[in-house]
């Protein structure tokens, strides 16, 4: 595994000297990675520290990283400058709604494609996989027109319905369902279970890891999305946190950094919490689903 420049070489014949050298290398490596990590985390630190910094310090020169005095005033401001509680709820309903619908619809379709050997299933699968290549930005205008014709602009229906199923989720779950042994569902079928019953009571309970993975991926993507809520909502009270915060960078050019960082911190907090709680699954989730 020693693929870096720090790979051990037999410079010294004296063993303890070699071990000492290796330890020094080890801690040099550690120090280097630590420094890099701190640099990478600087924007995260600036969000956290600035959110608790008084306005006077934010605009002071020279600027500082850590607040001299801690305050929660910025958090009060974000709730008075924006309908922030509403935005938070909207984000939650939008990302949660898309995730819930997509998990149900995708898993149903995936079950049909993995287990019901119907005529045309292969052709359908190919069409679904081919549609993975379409970036949503390319079809935004007709989607918007359709949502408009349905009278759904600026509603949760308009935000959620177009994403209530997605080709990637179907494909991902189908692959997972195929990896589950068929003996289980055949046993259930022999016992007279309907296909829906097999799906709900045999296949789904065994697919919890895949559903969680897909669920996290879908939730995070939608929670963080900017373009979608920007287009499908027209009033500030229907926006999401992400689209709402962009209202702070008004044409005036003066950016209220304290308020913005407080809002950013609240926007990131739920995801950071999920991330720290189920970190391994989270990283796994993007490593597998991210390669869509």
């Amino acid at each position: 595994m020693a693929t870096t420049a720090s790979a051990s070489r037999n410079f010294a014949t004296d063993r303890s000297k070699a071990r000492l050298g290796r330890n020094v290398e080890r801690w040099l490596l550690f120090a280097a990675v630590l420094a890099l990590t701190l640099v990478v985390l600087l924007p995260v630190l600036i969000i956290v520290f600035t959110a608790f910094k008084p306005a006077a310090e934010i605009n002071a020169y020279p600027p500082t990283l850590v607040p001299g005095q801690w305050t929660t005033a910025n958090f009060a401001r974000i709730f008075s400058d924006l309908p922030f509680a509403r935005l938070f709820l909207n984000s939650f309903l939008f990302a949660g709604g898309v995730t819930a619908f997509a998990l149900v619809f995708d898993s149903l379709a995936a079950y049909a494609l993995a287990r019901l050997d119907f005529r045309g299933s292969r052709a359908l699968l190919i069409v679904i996989v081919a549609s993975l290549m379409i970036p949503f930005q390319a079809t935004l205008i007709p989607i918007y027109q359709l949502v408009g014709n349905l009278g759904w602009v600026n509603t949760f229906a308009g935000l959620i319905a177009p994403r209530a199923a997605d080709a990637f989720g179907i494909f991902f779950l189908r692959q997972f369902f195929l990896s589950l042994p068929r003996d289980l569902d055949n046993a259930a079928r022999i016992d007279g279970a309907s296909e829906f019953r097999v799906f709900r009571s045999v296949v789904l309970p065994n697919a919890v890891p895949a559903l969680l993975t897909l669920g996290i991926f879908t939730f995070v993507n939608n929670w963080n999305d900017l373009l979608w809520p920007l287009i499908f909502t027209t009033t500030p009270d229907m926006g999401t946190i992400t689209s709402g915060l962009t209202l702070l960078t008004g044409p005036s050019g003066i950016i209220p950094y304290g308020t913005m960082m407080a809002g950013s911190l609240i926007a990131v907090a739920p995801l950071a919490l999920i991330y720290l709680l189920v970190q391994r699954r989270f990283i796994e989730s993007v490593a597998t689903t991210g390669l869509k």
């Binding site: 379709a109 990896s179 287009i231």
Partner: protein, 316 residues
């Protein structure tokens, strides 16, 4: 996939019918039984993926503005895209963005993956957690944080650089520096993702190859060049195309930081689609531009398919 039990799918074909007595259905069924399962998803995909594809294609040949009559104008929109220097500029801007983003993000990610894959680094798990953190931050929020760090008056990074003699000024208003800045924000947000994929790839390389190389007297660089890189080439090529596709869709941080400016130096294709389609209501032109984006993505995806046949293999 994340399954812990991963039996070979082929090994689990349903057993052959035992004299036709079992209720196990193995013969091809009519689509009837599958319809209730497929219908919800297919309605959504038909309405919001398939139909918009067709509709966007039709719109791209019209001068539609969303209101009133629209006229069929043939290839005029496409001709305009490739002749109007402003719109043509968005294509080259997007290409420049992709050309900057892809190598910077991937080299950074690979370097960190190599460091983190070193078994002798203490606290590898914690570093991985910390370095992946930016990926869960939305690009918009990342843009807010960077805009403060880079603020010409009160920005900390700007100030620190000044104390060591580097004057970057107002990067977001600088026609030369605005593009690298919006690229930097995207790199910061997404390198952790590529890093995790590289780490997974590195862990799949058999240790014996490194041992053999070491016995042959290969130094660290030789081992990297002759073992790591070739073994990682599949992952690498896959990620390169993946990053390029992501780069073609650049929007969020540009919308927040520069709005496409200064002097349209950061006006990417998706920014232009947004402004033409949703602000100026030039639906025809925006749709044509959408199709150019679609085609570029398609070409990259097909290259990816060809290269790896990952999904094609999975399909059989």
């Amino acid at each position: 996939m994340t399954s812990t039990v991963k039996p070979n799918a082929k090994a689990y074909r349903p057993p052959a019918p035992l004299g036709g007595r079992t209720p196990i259905r193995t013969a091809r069924q009519s689509a009837g039984i599958a319809i209730p399962f497929l219908l919800p998803a297919l309605i959504v995909l038909a309405a919001f993926v398939a139909w918009p594809m067709i509709s966007a294609l039709r719109l791209s040949f019209t001068d539609s503005s969303g209101f009133g009559a629209e006229q069929w104008i043939g290839f005029d929109n496409y001709i305009r895209i490739f002749t109007d220097p402003q719109i043509l500029g968005t294509l080259s801007t997007t290409a420049l963005y992709a050309v900057l983003f892809t190598p910077i993000a991937l080299i950074g990610a690979l370097a960190l993956a190599l460091l983190l894959n070193n078994a002798r680094l203490p606290g590898r798990g914690i570093f991985r957690t910390a370095l992946f953190l930016p990926f869960i931050v939305s690009l918009a929020v990342a843009a807010f944080a960077w805009s403060y760090l880079l603020d010409p008056q009160v920005g900390l990074l700007n100030y620190w650089l000044r104390t060591v003699g580097i004057h970057i000024g107002n990067v977001l208003q600088d026609p030369v520096l605005a593009m690298p800045t919006v690229v930097l924000v995207a790199v910061w947000k997404s390198f952790g993702f590529y890093m995790v994929i590289f780490i997974a790839g590195l862990q799949d390389i058999p240790v014996s190859l490194y041992e053999a190389a070491r016995i042959d007297g290969a130094g660290a660089w030789a081992r990297f060049r002759n073992v790591t890189l070739p073994q990682l080439s599949n992952t690498l090529a896959f990620v390169v195309i993946f990053a390029m596709i992501a780069a073609l869709q650049a929007f969020d941080q540009i919308y927040v930081l520069t709005g496409g400016g200064p002097y349209r130096t950061t006006q990417t294709v998706v920014m232009e689609i947004y402004q033409e389609g949703f602000k100026k209501l030039n639906l025809g032109l925006a749709s044509a531009l959408s199709y150019v984006l679609l085609l570029a993505t398609l070409i990259l995806s097909i290259v990816q398919f060809r290269f790896f046949g990952r999904r094609e293999k999975d399909l059989t």
